[in-house]
């Protein structure tokens, strides 16, 4: 009787950014390339101050086995290597590249033959990052035996209220996306590709069917639709919706044989294999009620928020506003526009300051709206109470650690309780306490 389809929330704001092609950002003079991303370990620079680089020259290499190759976004000169704050709020090394406007390009070496070994090494060399699991893409395949994956899910759409990267790529760069998905199928043991769309994208799915039918190489694929409700593109929920498998501590994605890629990773993979291009650009959705030209943009790695905002235009400059890295439901508010975007940045929002969202917190009236939307079937108000009274055992008993930080509970709460914020804090602090014991 427990239906996950009834959970989640209808997206609060309709995506205004779909329907137009991706625009490249106007070149700027300086690029601050961050060497540490959210969950990925910091890379080590391989260039020195004063070196001249081309677009696509390797400038940083991973220290151990679990890092990311980082390539220069433009041709130019290395001006400085220094420590600075990144979008996640951590201090890390940045490489300052000055643009010389010569547009010299350096490519990766040509791939010899298409086999799973060469493809996985190309995943690593090109510096492709997987924005679903937020780690370098090759880590999923290189050390664990890519052949154990039996299901390949490709997200062609996202249920996020703002992020429209995948739809736009699927619509305008369909050939690259489909070819990239084919290369992923070569790596894994999957017999067919499962393309996942949300329920309002039937047209795109029909276009995809037509495209594959017209292509020369035929292969098996399936199209699945998921409800257009907010946290349903979360990998855990996607696995239970599409494959009817519950991922937990005892059953990882690898054990279940499920790998989830999105359209953007497929696009980057295809460009790395067919055109030998390393990843130097990130597609970013710029949205929000204070933005003049909403849309999707190719942003070079290392451009700052300020560059983007100058390019897209901000309506009301003087009024206080919010700058958010991430979606409206789960992003990080930024206090400074002089921070570089990285490969983890999917969405940038500029919102007008809204009194409503900062209104007073009322006492919880136990209406149960939070537990009726939670996609993990938690009881957020009970967990919040255990956090406030610091009952760690009860927090664990109510499975507070299973929370996926979607923010649905805070969204629906009529008393404006800060439920998801407190559960996140509880996950952080109570884990620490457990370690000390």
């Amino acid at each position: 009787m427990r239906l996950i389809n009834l959970r989640g929330i209808k997206a609060p704001k309709i995506k205004a950014t779909t329907g137009t092609d991706i625009t490249p950002l106007r070149p700027v003079e300086f690029y601050n390339v961050p060497l540490k991303l959210k969950n990925v370990s910091e890379s080590e620079p391989v260039v020195r101050v004063g070196d001249s680089v081309k677009q696509g020259t390797l400038i940083a290499k991973p220290v151990g086995n679990f890092g990311l190759n980082i390539y220069s976004p433009v041709s130019g000169k290395i001006l400085n290597i220094f420590s600075k704050m990144n979008a996640g709020g951590e201090y890390c090394k940045h490489i300052l590249v000055m643009n010389d406007n010569k547009d010299e390009v350096e490519d990766l070496p040509q791939i010899d033959s298409i086999s799973d070994v060469t493809l996985i090494s190309r995943l690593r060399d090109a510096g492709i990052i997987d924005t679903v699991s937020q780690m370098p893409s090759y880590l999923k395949y290189a050390y664990v035996g890519a052949r154990s994956y039996k299901t390949l899910i490709v997200l062609m759409d996202s249920t996020d209220p703002n992020n429209s990267i995948n739809q736009t790529l699927a619509e305008y760069k369909m050939e690259e996306v489909v070819n990239g998905a084919k290369y992923f199928m070569n790596i894994t043991n999957a017999q067919f590709i499962t393309f996942v769309f949300t329920e309002n994208n039937y047209k795109l799915a029909a276009k995809l069917k037509k495209h594959i039918a017209e292509s020369k190489k035929r292969y098996d694929f399936k199209i699945k639709f998921i409800p257009n409700k907010y946290p349903f593109d979360n990998p855990y929920i996607l696995a239970s919706l599409v494959c009817k498998k519950k991922i937990n501590k005892n059953l990882s994605f690898l054990d279940a044989g499920i790998t989830i890629e999105n359209a953007e990773t497929c696009y980057n993979f295809c460009r790395a294999v067919e055109f030998n291009k390393p990843v130097t650009n990130k597609v970013v959705t710029v949205d929000g009620d204070n933005v003049t030209r909403k849309g999707n943009y190719f942003v070079p790695n290392g451009a700052s928020y300020q560059n983007i905002l100058e390019f897209v235009g901000v309506e009301d400059i003087k009024a206080p506003s919010r700058l958010i890295d991430g979606s409206i439901m789960s992003g990080n508010a930024q206090f400074n526009e002089d921070i570089s975007i990285s490969f983890m940045t999917n969405t940038i929002l500029v919102l007008k300051f809204d009194e409503l969202t900062d209104s007073k917190e009322y006492p919880c009236i136990s209406c149960g709206k939070c537990s009726s939307v939670c996609p993990v079937f938690l009881n957020p108000q009970a967990i919040e109470r255990t956090y406030l009274s610091e009952e760690i055992e009860d927090f664990n008993r109510l499975r507070g650690h299973s929370c996926i930080d979607c923010g649905c509970c805070s969204y629906v709460c009529p008393a404006r309780r800060h439920l998801s914020q407190r559960i996140s804090a509880g996950k952080f602090y109570f884990k620490k306490d457990k370690g000390e014991k």
């Binding site: 239970s240 508010a333 526009e337 136990s366 664990n396 969204y411």
Partner: protein, 309 residues
């Protein structure tokens, strides 16, 4: 850019607000109140006015003692006062209304914790207080409430006919006599998402099933629509604070309420009090239901069986 405001996600909220919920409930309650004044005249007006003033003053008094400020926070006194007044029979003397208004708001609501923390529905508890403890103080009130001159008990059949139900001449409290008005309230509250439609649905269905088993189909249909039961289904058991949080709990709660009220109406001797006493009884079980009748959470990378260590 002058400055950025920093806060934590989510940056957008649903339009459903706590004050809005109280406001909508108050609006829904005003309709049967107007109807009762039209139908019962001055008696009903006195009951409603006295109840509202008592609830308002009780809340102010509590705030004066606790916070040293003579004020009210929101519309909740209005909701409590109207539910209490509308569930009273029209011969209720004003001193009983004053006593149970004070009991509801001052003791049940604020002395037991205040908004969101009180474990009992203030209006319902006040109604039970009036119907069981205070009923003896006034012979006329006792007669209407237990034996009933105008209030013929539904189990014995009698004055309830279909035309009576819809024209407002059915038995019950002053606000519970016209079915059409109550149904409009129900639709309004469900449409504005103030109440969860599942609670009245489960309650009415289970009540109907038990009635069919006990008295047969036709009286069951009549009884289902009449009296205080529909009023309790709309305004009392749907109180967010004193109803369970999750769907399994809601199901058990509503089915228990509907089934028990049908059963006790037939075999019990509580008369008009039956519905409110049963609502108080299921209200007591809510903390228990919140603990045991819940969904088992999915285990997404959490601590498996952490509580057993």
């Amino acid at each position: 850019m002058e400055k950025f405001v920093v806060s934590s996600a989510p940056f957008v909220h649903s339009k459903n607000d706590l004050n809005k919920m109280f406001l909508f409930t108050a609006i829904a309650l005003v309709l049967p109140a107007i109807f009762s004044v039209l139908y019962f005249g001055l008696n009903a007006f006195i009951i409603i006015a006295v109840s509202l003033v008592t609830c308002l003053l009780s809340e102010c008094l509590f705030n004066l003692i606790k916070l040293k400020k003579f004020k009210v926070d929101n519309f909740s006194f209005f909701v409590t006062g109207l539910i209490l007044a509308l569930s009273m029979p029209y011969k209720a003397p004003f001193y009983i209304v004053i006593a149970c208004g004070f009991f509801s708001v001052f003791i049940v609501k604020f002395a037991l914790g205040g908004l969101g923390i009180n474990k009992f529905n203030p209006a319902n508890t006040g109604r039970c207080f009036a119907g069981i403890i205070l009923a003896g103080f006034s012979g006329e009130f006792y007669k209407t409430i237990i034996n009933g001159e105008e209030l013929t008990s539904l189990a014995t059949g009698g004055t309830n006919t279909l035309t009576n139900l819809f024209s407002g001449q059915a038995v019950g409290g002053i606000g519970t006599t016209c079915i059409i008005v109550l149904l409009i309230c129900l639709v309004f509250l469900i449409y504005t998402r103030v109440i969860d439609y599942k609670l009245p649905l489960f309650a009415i269905l289970s009540y109907f099933v038990v009635q069919v088993v006990l008295v047969g189909l036709e009286p069951a249909m009549m009884n289902m629509l009449s009296g205080s039961f529909l009023f309790a289904c709309i305004f009392i058991i749907t109180d967010p604070n004193t109803s369970p949080n999750t769907l399994p709990g809601k199901f058990v709660y509503a089915v228990l309420f509907g089934g028990l009220s049908a059963l006790l109406w037939k075999i019990g001797s509580l008369g008009e009090n039956t519905i409110f006493v049963v609502a108080l009884f299921v209200n007591m079980l809510v903390p228990f239901m919140d603990k045991y009748f819940v969904w088992k959470p999915l285990n997404f990378g959490g601590y498996r069986n952490a509580h057993k260590k």
